[in-house]
């Protein structure tokens, strides 16, 4: 075991992926010599050469189009989009191309080797264009897997699994806790399963569901509720698509209550999808309406960011409301 922060765990996973398979290729804006603006690809060019780790020109549409071609050829591209906010120039290559490659060719061709890594989320004084959580746009497109780790251990295991998964994967990295989240990480190669949620804390009264950086916030709210005698079950979804319906259903059948929290706006957010599915599955078990604690239906602000964020206090209030419904 080694002590690593989330960035170091990602760097370590990339290193292991490149060492164990020479088809793995890492690229994107500034990922070469510099190691990426967040330093996730540090030293990879030094170790694996310019052919396998390099700077691309500044064009996201080109990066993902290129990655699609590379993956179709049989390589294993791990493309970095510098901020999730800048993934949209590549939207067409992701939702129309990567997502549908296998389907439209009758499985003659696929881009299963593709992984797109990108830092997402707010709480870093980034304003409109350095704070977005765009997972819901992609969740609506069949053919993509979407993964969001919450800490270094998860990041390493989930990233290795994503790179080796035979489907295109979007890997959203919680940049707010890139350096702040530190923990023990096995030095060896390991994978964590995609599509499986993890129960962090067992509880009786209410289920709290989130992913990525929001897990920390939810755990804080759960600790506050604990002091009021409310026992929370805390679940990390880990994979947005395909999401682990079974684990969430079982939990809600036990607790009878559910809160889903994400930073992205409410309307059309992935919490809505979860709420619809769980009320279908658990209607007779529910003791209160499923609640969503999310960002507002506005772009991400700067100065009033704290007000905007679905923080532990807002989740704590939602817990009390749900339990006292």
């Amino acid at each position: 075991m080694a002590n690593m922060n989330l960035l170091q765990a990602i760097n370590n996973a990339l290193d292991i992926a490149m060492a164990s398979n020479d088809k793995v290729i890492c690229f994107g804006e500034d990922v070469g010599v510099f190691g990426g603006v967040f330093r996730a690809t540090s030293h990879l060019q030094e170790k694996y050469g310019r052919d396998r780790c390099f700077n691309t020109p500044l064009v996201e549409q080109g990066i993902i189009g290129f990655a699609n071609g590379l993956a179709a050829q049989g390589s294993v591209p791990v493309a970095e989009i510098q901020f999730a906010d800048y993934i949209f120039p590549a939207f067409d290559q992701i939702v129309n191309e990567a997502a549908k490659f296998r389907y439209r060719s009758g499985n003659l061709f696929n881009v299963g080797g593709l992984t797109i890594r990108t830092p997402y989320g707010g709480g870093i004084a980034g304003g409109l264009y350095h704070s977005q959580s765009p997972e819901a746009y992609f969740a609506h497109t069949p053919g993509l897997k979407i993964v969001v780790p919450r800490n270094p251990h998860q990041a390493k295991g989930l990233l290795l699994a994503s790179i080796r998964d035979p489907n295109p994967v979007l890997f959203f990295e919680p940049k707010r806790i890139y350096r702040a989240s530190v923990g023990e990480v096995p030095e060896e190669d390991y994978e964590l399963p995609l599509g499986q949620a993890e129960i962090l804390q067992e509880g009786e009264d209410i289920s709290l569901l989130a992913w990525g950086a929001q897990m920390e916030t939810v755990e804080k709210a759960a600790a506050m509720a604990q002091k009021e005698g409310i026992s929370c079950e805390v679940i990390d979804l880990r994979t947005i698509v395909p999401w682990d319906i079974e684990t969430v259903t079982r939990s809600v059948m036990k607790t009878g209550r559910l809160i889903v929290s994400h930073e992205a706006p409410l309307t059309g957010g992935f919490a809505g999808e979860i709420a619809a599915t769980i009320q279908e599955r658990c209607f007779l078990y529910l003791e209160s309406p499923i609640a969503r604690v999310t960002g507002l239906d506005t772009p991400f602000p700067l100065v009033l960011e704290k007000e905007y964020m679905p923080d532990h206090l807002k989740i704590f209030e939602a817990i009390k409301q749900s339990v006292n419904f």
Partner: protein
Amino acid sequence: MDTQERTINTPDFTAGDALQIATYQVLAQDGTVIPGAVVPELDEAQALKIYRAMVFTRVLDERMLAAQRQGRLSFYLQSTGEEATTVGFAAALDDSDMIMAQYREQGALAYRGFSVEQFMNQLFGNDLDYGKGRQMPIHYGSKDLHYMTISSPLATQIPQATGYAYGQKLAGNKACTVTVFGEGAASEGDFHAALNMAAVLKVPVIFLCRNNGYAISTPSSEQFASDGVAPRAVGYGMKSIRIDGNDVLAVVKAMQKARKLAVEQNEPVLVEAMSYRLAAHSSSDDPSGYRNKAEEDKWRAKDPILRMKNWLLKQAWWDEAQEKQLYESIRPQVLEAMKRAQQRPSPPLEALITDVYDRPPAQLEAQLEALRSHLDKYPEAYPKSAGGAARG
């Protein structure tokens, strides 16, 4: 244009480097005009206005980077080394020509008269910020000064400039639009779409590329294999020029000519200004990880402000006493304005939901109401909106 007229009978390819574009330069570093160089018409008053804006920008950048380092400001981004381009281009325009910039063009705003207070209100995102505290520092905008508010996603302003200029043409305005972008941003698809449409539709737009050698850590040699950005415009069917971006006279002259072509002939033009980003990319960047000091020093010796000063001295339009006085007047101006801006309240809580649409829909009003009652429960947890300051 008919591209099929001339035929050849041998398979001769045109090489990628067939078009090597030379650099237009007027001033040597010591401030002498290079013999035979075409010089812009620039009277003393305008020359000094340019120079003052360049110096103001340099001082503002130094002070605000220091403020960022002291934790007063979340972020800052300097234009050090590029002031001749960022002020010079504005000086060649009519004040009503629209500017659609990337983010490093504070010099143009300073030239057009954006006050030190206006800079500070945006940087500190207070209640007087035109952008209502929504965007990061340096995302300026001013309707009065015809300066489109900056957007962070790179290159998005370039095709918008083509569209804006097309509208100006249809309206019969004797005006053009200038869009500024880095050589990195010129790799984006938006750049190519913008040039192609401008050339086909004969749009009065000027594409001004600030080629400062780096896009964050990526050197231009890893950005493109071509001879820079200038030849691409020729490929799209428009006029193009490369200029010394540290030479304010070359910038002014080339831009004056470009403006004439755009406004009088409806010809889009590309200007590639060769310069160097002397500072880090932004306050979050450390350039020592990707380039060396010797390279920076080489460019420091080509300082555009010093070059212009040398020329002004030779013109006998400037002296050392005036120079000293200029710096001594700007520094306290900046510091005092910073203090005032910092003391102002944050934008009101309503700023969260206004301007998303023309009027907030019912759902947004309800979300704001819910937020208000939450904040009332925990006022101490939300200092920006506590105590009524931001509650308006």
